[in-house]
Every structure is written in C-alpha cells, then in structure tokens.
Symmetry: C2
Subunit: 435 residues, 2 copies
C-alpha cells in the first residue's frame, strides 16, 4: 500500500481499478483487507447521500477479505470488491428484485455471474439498488454527482457505486438501456455484451429475448478482465497495440431528441478523433431501423407480462403503478401475432446489421440524451439504447464528456455481434483521444 | 360423472384428456374435486411401482379442487390436474432440481409456466421426478409399462405420470431430447415448442441457448390448448379441417443407430401415410447437419458448466459422478472459441433449415432408437433429438408404434420454426392414420 500511495499520492485504494488492485495485491503492495476497508470507508462516508446499496454487511466483507489474505490463493479477481444488482440471486445475501413482494427474500444459491466472480477471488460487497423488477419504478439511489438528480436505471446502484469509487466493479442488467444509461449519468464505463455470451442463470428474467448482464467499471481493461472471468475462461489481456479504428458516426433517427449540447459534444468528438487519425464516416441506418424501438416495446412487454404472472396474480397490489400501467398493460394487450411479428422484424434487422457497418470497426452514438435529469421520479430517457440492445450487439459507454452542469455524459460505441474484443480495442483508443 | 361413465364405460376420469375434463366440468357432468380424486386414486395405486412424483400433497390438491368448485370461476384449464418437473420453481412445493444439494429447497415464487397454468384454473398436483439438474443421472422413476425399464429422461416423472394416466398434462424441459424421448418410452404425446416462445423464467437453466419447456399430454388437442395457456393468450381450438400434410421422411445420418424394428415401423408408417393420401418424399439433410450433434455438445456443456458454478464450487462432492465426468468436464475443457464456433455453426444450419423442407409441411423422423431399454442406470440414447433441438424448431412425438416387447415407440414430426400450429394439424392427421 505504501508504494502505491507513494507513486500516486492522490490515488486511494478505493479509487484503483480492478486490474490495479489485482497487481498491487499480487506484488504484496497491499492486502485484500486493506482494499475492502478502503471501499467500506468510502461507502460509509458517501452512502447516506448516494444510497447505492440495498444490502451491505461490512463484517461479512472483512471476514471474506481476511480469509483470502490468509489463504494465499490466487485468482484473476483476487481481492477485488464488486457489487451485484439486486435482481441477481446471492446465497448469503437477501435478493429483493426491487419489490416489496420479495422483502428479505433469501435465495438458496448464487447466480452464475456471482459464483464466477467469487471463484476468481472477488469479494462480493453487497447488493446494489435496482428499480422495481429492473423496470421503471425508481429505487432510493441518487446521482453521486448531484443528489437532486437520478442515477439512471434500472442498474441504479451498480452505476452509482462504481461512479462514486465505492467499488471498482459492479454487475447490472440491460433489457433496454439499463446499464449504459446509468453509467453515462454516473461517469462510469459500462459494457453490454453480445447477447447470450454471459450466462444469466440466477438473474431474474425480465424479457429473455433481450436481457443481458451489464458490467460497470472504471476502465476498459477492467471490462475485458471481468468479461473473461464471467465467461469462465482464463483472462487474456488486451493486445498492447491494436491500430486506429474505423468509426461510423451514427446519429440515428433519435438525433433530434438529444440535448443540443450532447449533439455538439458528439460532433466535436468526431472532429477530434478524425484529427487524431481515425477514419470517421457518417453512417445512416436503413430506414427500417426506425421501427426497432416499436418491436423492442412489444417483445419486452409481452415477455415481461408472462414472466411476472405469479406476482400479477398473487401480489397485484404490491406492484408499482408505473409497472402495472406501463409494461404489464402493454404486455397483456399485445397479441401473440404482434409479438412474433416484432421478434421476426428484430431478427431481420439483426441479419442486416453487420453490413450496415461497411468497413467500420465500430459505430459512435449517444449513450443518453444528456446529463442525468433533475428529479428522482424517473430514471431518464431510455430510447438511445433500444436499437443496439435489440440488435444483440456489444456496446460500451465511455465517460468522456461533461455537460453544461459539469455532469458526466457518455459516448457509446457499438460493434458487430461477437466482436466484443475489437470493441474494447477501439474503445481504448477512442477514450485515449477524448480525455 | 355419471353421464361420462355412461357414455364411455371403460373411460375413467383420470383417463380423460384435459380438453375432455374442461368440457365435462363446464357441462356440470363432473367436478374439479372428482377429477382430482380420480387422479390421486390412480397415483395411490400406481406410485409404489412407477415413482413418478418427487412431491405430492393430496390434501393441498383436494383443497384447491374444492375451492375451484366453490368459486364458480371459469378458465381454459379449469379443474385440469397437471404435473411440473422438479427443475421448475413452485411457491408452495419444494423444488430440488434432482439434486441432494437442494433437499427440501422451497422457492419463493411460481415459475411463469406454473403460474400461467394455475391462472387458467389448472390444479398443480405435484412435482414430477427429474434427473439430476435435468442431466444424465437418473431419478427413481420407472417405466409405467415395465418397471425393469427406464422411463427415459430427464423429464422422467412428467412422461411416466401422463403415460400412466395419473395426470392428463405435465411440463418437462428439453435441452437435447429430454421430453420427446421419455414421452416416446412412456406412450405419451409430447411437444417441444419453437425456441423462446414459452417463457422459462423460474425454470433452472441448463443451457439457455437450447433449453425450452416440453409439454406432455395424451392428445394433440391438449398440446394446442396447453401451449396457448402457457403463451398467456386466449386458447384457439385447432381448425376442424386442415387438409392432408406433405411429409418429408427424414432418416438422417442416425438411421443406422435405430433398432431394426424402429426402422421397419417408420418405413411401414410412410407406406400407410402415402396410401392414406399424403404426399411423402424421402428427404436428405445437407451433410453439414451431421456435425450438429457435435455443436450441440459444446454449446450445452460450455453453458452448463458456467450455470452450475456455485454447485461446482461449493458442493462438488454432492454432484453425481456422471454429471461431473460428463457435462461438467466437457464444459470446462471447452474453449470460448470452440463454443462460439459451435454456436455460429448452429445458427448457419438454422438459417438453411427452412429450405430443407422444400414443399413439405413437416418431417417425419424417429423419436427414440426404440423401446425403453432395460435397466434404470441410464435414461436411453439421447441422439435422435439433438438435431431438431439445436435447430430451435417445434416437434411432437406421437405414440403410434409398439416395439417387439409390446412397449410404446413414438414417431417424431418436425416443423419449421414458428410453424407450431401447422405441426399440430399435421400431427393430428398423421395420428389419425396410424392408430
């Protein structure tokens, strides 16, 4: 620990990335316990304002950290504190799915993603706040940069905890924009993987045809590391050099709904990237893609309304009005024919999507319409992510912009399906140019 | 009840189909309680030999039946007893996933498919036996036609319970051939739906890229009815007339592994169907399709080994040797590259598959290599279903043959993706010709 603070006087243990923590512990420069305590201290100081945590048990965390220090074991996440969205089951912590129906509910086992993180030596710090059933009704979390503003959602606590340096890693989920948007609002990196790559066993299903995990971190290297851990494979560092990416600037038909400053920030970024040597081209999506949001709406609501049949039938009065009047009403009104048409339409667009890239490696787009809006009654506009989510492609958001109030605004990069590692390489280069 | 026994002297209430039960109750000819009692009586008489049930609580069943009788409510499954494979969560019955790790485990909520069945007025009778984690290690169930033989698996109890007239409907799951094979061995109808149509929320994930529910019934009409209930839509009866189907007889490269009598039964069936007016053509799959089993192996084992990380890490010694040495060893030895190659290969074949049908409505193939084999140490050869499962297409098995020992052998019909109702119409016609 001494040498770290010596090298980076302003850097505290809770501000390190996962990659830095792992090597500091491996080099004997700090301990699992010291890192865990630094994160717990940060949480203790900030939680009254941020309220990122649904469940936190410091003693459990310290006991696990000490056991790891004593064991002398190794692991790709050894000693790295992580948070888990409370829509994901944990064997030793309650899991409430953001709903009073599940107050104090204790699952029997860890979800696959939780167990994989622990197997790699990570320290589960606790459960981060989710909106109700990872849907619209906000939880208690506030934006770490301004408590009058939303942190975004539905992975509200995961984004706020990482953005506020409480933990270096957290898992969220995404069915529309539930990881990318809150990470953009909270100044974090985040990644939605290629659909179906990371196992969702033990994650409460919202709409299985769209759901994925979402990873929130403070660096691209950490995204690559955490992804490999959750794939259950030996982590492979990103190649040191990967060349200058070819970028398609993709305003989409949603360009008019972005805040004017977001449009300007993106336009300026494109100029900067081009000046730095990137080939950047304007890229227009086929006109069919304007209907993807509609398909997304019917797929997600049809599935949601079936998945929550038990809650609808047995606990109707404990479901929030926004979920009842929004997703459930939509889903119950949707015919099977409309659902299948929407699913087929999404598949047709997916089949076209690789060609849309032309010779680009990645697309550049907005992560959110702007800064986190004022108020805690809404988690913000979900629309900018719906197209990419429905396309089943990997995306990242990079915390590269500041809005007019000095609050974070992300830039989203989108890659072809299964091109996740090329996305990381491009993201690293883009991030390097823009900050 | 009197009028039913008057009309069909040999037919007892527990032998009725779901469709018959619903209309008998609606017409006031019997009651929910009488049907439930008839099923419970059958179970009491036969369970010592068949052992289809992991959990059964007669009092709970009778109480529910009486409540339904009193309520005067309606519903598309009103009063229909059904069984649920014990890999699927239930809020008021333990769910053990076929594993001692989950002894007496009580989930908080009903899986989507359980809640939808109950919402429709169905009576959950209990939990049917599954193999360990819906994988290879057999449970206690025996074949209802010969207790020295396997019922098949992994949906062993669901197939045995329906085949033995204990319940008219049961839900299983299928990742390879886990519903079709046991139904073939137990003389039942069964259906694997188009992938992703029926929600699996609350079903323990085995390999999410392949898993579906599987429905076991005693008629095609009941499959159509139960499917609509589980889609959460208003049931639509099958059209009265649907014409003579065009059938592709598809021996596949597995023809040599079928028992000679199974080959003969299929060849004879083809002749009979042609004589009855069906256009039947020999249909050869593209040679690539011989590699689908291999792709299936890597997809399913890679995902399985990640999904069960908690059990592998925390309860290794309580996992059966066949699961450890088979699926888990395979899955942990499989690289991510091989997994992704296998998934891409499966997708490529899926994209070709619709054209394989030519002008055929359905394919005819084997449901299993033959009769249920002797012995309870194995659930039989899984291979005949792997191709269709991996293609994500709907299939049914029809109990139309008897093998040399007088035991049931099924015929499998395969349709294009999302062509489930055309499949039912063809299956009804084929069944009508062959029995």
């Amino acid at each position: 620990m001494t040498s770290i603070t010596a090298k980076k006087p302003a850097m505290r243990l809770n501000e390190l990335t996962a990659t830095e923590i792992v090597s500091a512990i491996a080099d004997g420069k700090t301990t699992c316990e010291a890192v865990a305590r630094a994160c717990l201290d940060r949480i203790a100081a900030r939680e009254p304002q941020v309220q990122a945590w649904q469940y936190l048990n410091s003693e459990q965390v310290i006991a696990r950290a000490r056991a790891l220090d004593k064991s002398g074991r190794r692991g790709p996440l050894l000693g790295v504190p992580f948070g888990i969205k409370d829509i994901i089951d944990t064997c030793d912590m309650p899991t409430e799915y953001g709903s009073p129906i599940y107050k104090d509910h204790q699952p029997k086992n860890d979800a696959a993603c939780v167990a994989l993180g622990r197997k790699a030596g990570g320290i589960l710090m606790g459960k981060t706040v989710t909106t109700e059933f990872a849907n619209l009704t906000p939880g208690k979390t506030r934006n770490p940069f301004d408590p009058a503003r939303t942190p975004g959602g539905s992975s509200s606590g995961s984004a706020a905890a990482v953005g506020d340096n409480m933990v270096p890693l957290a898992i969220g989920t995404q069915t529309t924009g539930s990881t990318i948007r809150p990470a953009s609002f909270c100044g974090a990196f985040a990644y939605r993987p290629t659909y179906a790559d990371l196992r969702c066993s033990g994650v409460r299903e919202v709409a299985g045809s769209l759901d994925t995990l979402g990873l929130v971190t403070r660096s691209i290297e950490d995204i690559a590391l955490y992804r490999d851990v959750l794939l259950g494979i030996e982590p492979q560092p990103l190649p040191a050099e990967s060349g200058v990416p070819r970028i398609g600037f993709c305003r989409t038909h949603l360009w008019p709904i972005l805040e004017p400053y977001t449009r300007q920030l993106l336009e300026d970024a494109v100029e900067n990237l081009a000046r730095a040597g990137a080939k950047v081209v304007d890229l227009t999506l086929p006109s069919e893609f304007e209907s993807i949001e509609d398909a997304h709406r019917w797929i997600s609501s049809f599935e949601f309304a079936r998945n929550f049949t038990w809650e609808i039938d047995s606990h109707w009065e404990q479901i929030g009005e926004r979920v009842r009047e929004g997703r459930i009403k939509d889903g119950l009104s949707c015919s099977f024919e409309r659902y299948i048409e929407s699913r087929s339409f999404a598949e047709k667009c997916r089949a076209m999507f690789s060609d849309v890239f032309g010779d680009c490696d990645v697309l550049l787009a907005a992560s959110a319409v702007g800064e986190a809006p004022i108020g805690l009654h809404s988690t913000g506009n979900v629309r900018p992510s719906a197209i990419w989510t429905t396309m089943h492609v990997p995306v990242v958001t990079l915390p590269v912009f500041k809005g007019p109030n000095g609050l974070p605004v992300g830039a989203q990069l989108v890659a072809r399906r299964s091109d996740d590692r090329r996305l990381f390489a491009a993201a690293r280069w883009v991030y390097g140019q823009l900050v």
